[in-house]
């Protein structure tokens, strides 16, 4: 097949080298071309830059510079084409070509080693010595080596990266979760270590050779029963522990629900809006159809419960007091996530969700515990919600009851003058419409 001639190694090699050299020439040529242009362009853009705000440093080639807002023209109302700048990618192409060539040469180097090994094996075969390189043995030994390195690596990871985690939870239920986690961690680590020792150990110990035969052992039902029942028991323990922990967190009695401080948080692209329930500890009703720029939560202010609702920038919580968050979303799914409290709950448009917990450590106390004087609890979004998903944060401060009350008093009401005005106008408009309807006039 002539197809094979094209694919033959020497042809391929020379083709790649040719392309690489060409690419290098091309990149160099680009560099020379654009230098002259970019000098003049630089002066033009420099003068334009002096008189206008930020000009993008990289002007792409298909931008019509006469239409750009920063193009102030020649001072007499005529537009000037500011430097037909060919964006100078030559450096990028050059380094790309360089790294590609480097990788290619590395591959060639590997190929050379391979050929050398092959040559060695062939000469051994010619000399009649049947033993070439015992690759089988090498791989088995490598597995043993990998076991040691791997176990050490896991240990290193556990200690170095494990220590970067905040092990102290800031909430009461968080401690139960952490206990659950530790139990699971111990069990899984033990299993991880033992099974890997067996796996790589067997791979090493039973390296194949022509001089022996494997042991024909197709099954052992007693063993199967044993290693079905033991994991089942261990998992049952974990399930029961998990189930009761989960129930403790999610199954809050009516009485406890009423005693908790009510706070509502609403997520949207790309921020959280916090609403405190005020003195009556109940947030006012909402209707998304009432959303306006002034009333961005769509609160129905005919509901008296909304009149004492407060706006908050940060979330401030009194320590040791149960707080019940109502979590909403205005547009798409978000997730209300405060890692240090072990709190997460999706924000779903059309369905309020809830999470009730009790903060245990004030921000100050947590700062001492973590040895970090600038430590802050933080709320972040944990459900993909668009381009701003990675930056939806609200600071959460846990303070003493007294500090909390002092802070709360200072927070503004949702039911403010702007809202009242808007309501008045809306009701006037509605009244006018009703009048019109009553008199049947247009």
């Amino acid at each position: 097949m002539s197809f094979r001639k094209v694919f033959s190694l020497p042809t391929l090699f020379s083709m790649v080298l040719f392309v690489a050299l060409l690419g290098n020439q091309f990149a160099q040529a680009q560099n020379q071309d654009t230098t002259a242009v970019s000098i003049s362009a630089a002066t033009d853009t420099a003068s334009a830059a002096a008189a206008s705000p930020a000009i993008p440093t990289l002007i792409s080639t298909d931008v019509d510079t006469t239409k750009m807002s920063w193009n102030l023209g020649d001072g007499q109302g005529n537009k000037v084409e500011i430097g037909k700048v060919e964006t100078d990618y030559s450096a990028a192409y050059k380094s790309f070509a360089y790294y590609s060539l480097l990788f290619f040469l590395f591959c060639v180097f590997i190929g050379i080693i391979g050929k050398a090994l092959r040559a060695y094996e062939l000469t051994r075969a010619i000399q009649g010595k049947t033993e070439g390189i015992n690759w089988n043995r090498i791989q088995g030994v490598l597995f043993a080596f990998a076991l040691l390195v791997g176990l050490y690596g896991a240990y290193w990871s556990y200690t170095n990266q494990g220590s970067m985690i905040n092990h102290t939870s800031g909430s009461v239920h968080g401690e139960q979760i952490d206990f659950m986690f530790n139990v699971t961690l111990v069990i899984t680590t033990v299993v991880f270590v033992i099974t890997h020792i067996l796996l790589f150990g067997f791979a090493y110990k039973y390296i194949g050779s022509n001089k022996r035969k494997a042991y024909y052992y197709p099954h052992n039902n007693a063993l199967e029963r044993l290693w079905t029942v033991v994991p089942a028991i261990v998992l049952t323990v974990l399930v029961l522990l998990g189930f009761f922990t989960w129930r403790g967190i999610t199954n809050i009695s009516e009485a406890d629900q009423k005693k908790a401080l009510n706070i509502e948080v609403t997520g949207e692209q790309f921020k959280w809006t916090v609403r405190y329930a005020g003195a009556d500890n109940q947030t006012g009703l909402r209707n998304y159809k009432l959303t306006t720029p002034t009333n961005n939560l769509g609160i129905d202010f005919r509901d008296q419960k909304s009149w004492d609702d407060k706006i908050a920038g940060d979330i401030v919580l009194p320590v040791n007091r149960s707080v019940r968050f109502t979590i909403n979303s205005k547009d798409i799914l978000h997730s209300f996530y405060i890692p240090e409290f072990r709190v997460q709950m999706n924000a779903v448009p059309g369905m309020p969700t809830y999470f009730q917990f009790t903060p245990k450590y004030t921000t100050e106390e947590m700062r001492e515990k973590t040895n970090n004087p600038t430590y802050e609890y933080v709320l972040l979004c944990a459900k993909i919600c668009g381009s701003g998903h990675y930056n939806m944060q609200v600071k959460v401060k846990v303070v003493s009851e007294k500090e909390y009350q002092e802070w709360l008093v200072q927070q503004p009401l949702y039911y403010n003058d702007d809202v009242k005005k808007e309501m008045q106008m809306a009701s006037q408009k509605a009244a006018a419409e009703t009048n019109k309807m009553a008199f049947n006039t247009k």
Binding site: R4, L58, Y89, A92, Y93, C107, I110, Q139, L142, S157, Q161, M164, I177, M180, H196, L198, L199, F200, F202, A203, Y206, G208, S209, R212, K213, Y215, Y216, P218, H219, L223, T228, P231, L235, L238, V239, G242, F243, W246, I249, Q269, Y288, K289, T291, P293, D331, I332, L333, R342, Q344, V348, P349, M351, T353, V378, L380, A382, I384, G386, S387, H389
Partner: protein, 626 residues
């Protein structure tokens, strides 16, 4: 138990009159072996593309403040100033996930090996419906093309994560990728599901109806059991995703409100009422969870075969392995809610799904222990396929154990949608399942292409990938434990995340090196296809039926009659036999010195014949420890 095989005669397959054109032989082939190769090569190409995307977004994560001008040449407005835009970052993450889970690990794994091995290992001429088989591949190819096509539309590809939760995926204004790109994703996936369903129905029919004489269900290799059960899971679960997709298409294009309610998007009040995003999640994960077992089970089946063959030992606990697969199959349908612990669904459901999820860990554990027992006292031959199979067991253990954390609803509160989840599924799917696929490629390359792959390159590929994968995914567990969420464009905005920036850089380096290591495989694969050493008929000295076919591909697989099967596929290193393997086609009459009473399955006459022979030859029957 006699099989209900369709006995065809040799005369039927005299293809002297069968005119094959280039189109019918290579493009619209209805030969299962060619279709398997088509699936494999397409799967590999999609894998390389999806891996390239992962390198791109790892560039952003590893070096969040650096600009790479070369990116702007290729990506234009999506990487203005040499920095990938947040929208496009999410698009890359979405398509990476979609391609890897569906195109590479479902089509590329199931499609390839089920097609290749089911007829060959069962003793069938071809699949039950070769025409549907061909359609299955072309629907898949079309799906790939449309998915790639979504990169060439102005608003970009789908960007709501591979799980495309509405309302984000239903509202084009919420993110650009939810416009035309999302529509193309939905069309692509519909075609893909059609492809998978056609394939699955074919596999099930072939396994149930077209086994050769003597091939009882309990004599099938574990690979076939795995493919068979995978197909059943697929048939029952993929249609649910179709229904979810249809409802989403309605919400997007026809003004319905299946998933939408009470929405004010960027100041605009939307008219939809009464729907729930949670409905989508239920429908999606009803497929989504079985899907991950569709990805994993073929890999486990391949591993069983490769480990047994290369340890020269029967797979330990063949029946237990089958029952475990069946257990996983059944249980996989009742655990989907563990993806939804923090959605706001009734906490009672959370408790229920936690229980079922932790139960499914039991059959997985049993399989792992059986693999270890197979290696014990084996005579191990480290072919590259064997290396990858051992690597799979390692990743399966590591990834499976972290699943125990996530399956626990209380722990999941803090771990959901964090890097802990990313680490978990990349270990089980992105490492274990891919290793299963690679193991299969190395092992059955001689069968597919009649040539051998280079062994040394295979070793190099294995070690670089194995180490690279652990270096990339192990640290992610700790990131997740510290509360770092997934699908974040950058870690630079939060104080507590800043300490992980250096770890990110390390992971990105490891990922780039591991990605480059795949060139060892790609070169090996494509070069050996043409220039590899010519393979013998049974290079691995394996027992299964596919190695009894001639090296040169034959339409109809066997010249003459299909062989009859007399025994199970795991008679390796049987005491009393001179060689360390006995192919399935060898009758018991030819192996009198190694027959065990157990082999006769209660056939009294056969047992008596054996006893007589043993007495006459004064050889003690091989003592078998029960």
């Amino acid at each position: 138990m006699a099989s209900t095989a369709i006995h065809d005669t040799a005369a039927h397959h005299d293809h002297g009159h069968h005119h094959e054109t280039f189109l019918t032989k290579y493009i619209f082939s209805q030969d299962h072996k060619m279709i398997a190769k088509q699936f494999l090569i397409t799967g590999i190409i999609m894998g390389v593309i999806a891996m390239f995307f992962s390198v791109l977004f790892r560039l952003q994560l590893g070096w969040p403040d650096k600009s790479f001008p070369i990116l702007e040449t290729f990506l234009g407005k999506w990487a203005e100033g040499g920095r990938i835009k947040p929208d496009f970052y999410l698009a890359l993450v979405t398509i990476h996930g979609t391609m890897m889970v569906f195109f590479v690990l479902t089509a590329g794994l199931s499609g390839t090996f089920s097609n290749l091995l089911i007829p060959l290992q069962l003793g069938a001429r071809d699949m039950a419906s070769p025409f549907l088989n061909m359609l299955s591949y072309w629907f898949f190819f079309l799906a790939c093309t449309i998915m790639m096509g979504s990169f060439f539309v102005e608003s970009g590809p789908a960007s709501a994560g591979w799980t495309i939760y509405p309302p984000l995926s239903a509202l084009p204004k919420a993110i650009a990728g939810s416009g035309l790109g999302m529509t193309l994703w939905l069309i692509s996936m519909t075609l893909f599901i059609a492809s998978s369903l056609i394939g699955a129905l074919n596999y099930i029919s072939t396994v149930l109806n077209m086994r050769t004489k003597g091939m009882d269900l309990w004599r099938m290799p574990l690979t076939i059991w795995a493919f068979f059960l995978t197909a059943i899971v697929g048939v029952l679960s993929f249609p649910v995703l179709v229904s979810a997709v249809v409802l989403l298409i309605f919400d997007r294009s026809f003004g319905t409100s299946f998933y939408l309610s009470d929405i004010v998007l960027q100041g605009q009040i939307l008219p939809n009422q009464g729907g729930s995003p949670i409905l989508w999640q239920h429908l999606f994960w009803f497929l989504g969870h079985p899907e991950v077992y569709i990805v994993l089970m073929p890999a486990l089946g391949i591993t069983s075969e490769v480990i047994a063959t290369n340890s020269r030992k029967p797979i330990f606990g063949y029946h237990a392995m089958v029952y475990s697969l069946i257990g996983i199959t059944v249980l996989s349908f009742i655990v989907w809610g563990h993806h939804m612990f923090v959605t706001g669904m009734n906490p009672f459901l959370g408790g229920v799904f936690m229980i079922t999820t932790l139960i499914i860990a039991v059959p997985s554990a049993v399989k792992t222990f059986n693999y270890l027992a197979t290696l014990w006292r084996g005579n191990i031959r480290f072919t590259p396929a064997m290396m990858f199979a051992i690597g799979l067991v390692s990743f399966f253990i590591s990834g499976g154990l972290t699943g125990i954390f996530l399956g626990n609803a209380a722990l999941d509160i803090n771990l959901h949608d964090t890097y802990f989840v990313v680490a978990h599924f990349h270990l089980v799917m992105g490492s274990a399942a891919i290793f299963g696929m690679l193991s299969g490629v190395y092992h059955w390359f001689p069968k597919m292409f009649g040539r051998m792959m280079d062994e040394k390159l295979g070793y190099l590929h294995f070690w670089l990938t194995f180490i690279g994968a652990y270096l990339v995914f192990f640290p992610m567990h700790f990131m997740g434990l510290d509360g770092v969420p997934r699908r974040y464009y950058a870690f630079t905005e939060f104080e507590f995340m800043k300490e992980w920036l250096t770890v990110n850089t390390f992971i990105s380096w490891a990922a780039i090196i591991a990605a480059l290591a795949q060139f060892a495989f790609l070169y090996n694969f494509f070069y050996s296809m043409f220039y590899g050493k010519k393979a013998s008929q049974n290079p691995w000295e394996s027992n299964t039926l596919e190695w009894t076919t001639p090296v040169e591909h034959l339409h109809g697989n066997w010249p003459g009659e299909i062989p009859t099967v007399h025994r199970w596929p795991y008679d390796y290193s049987k005491p009393g036999h001179d060689k360390d393997f006995i192919p399935q086609t060898t009758p018991f009459s030819e192996t009198m010195s190694s027959n065990l009473p157990h082999d006769f399955e209660g056939n009294v006459e056969a047992e008596q014949v054996q006893e007589k022979w043993v007495k006459e030859n004064k050889k003690p029957a091989a003592r078998q420890k029960a």
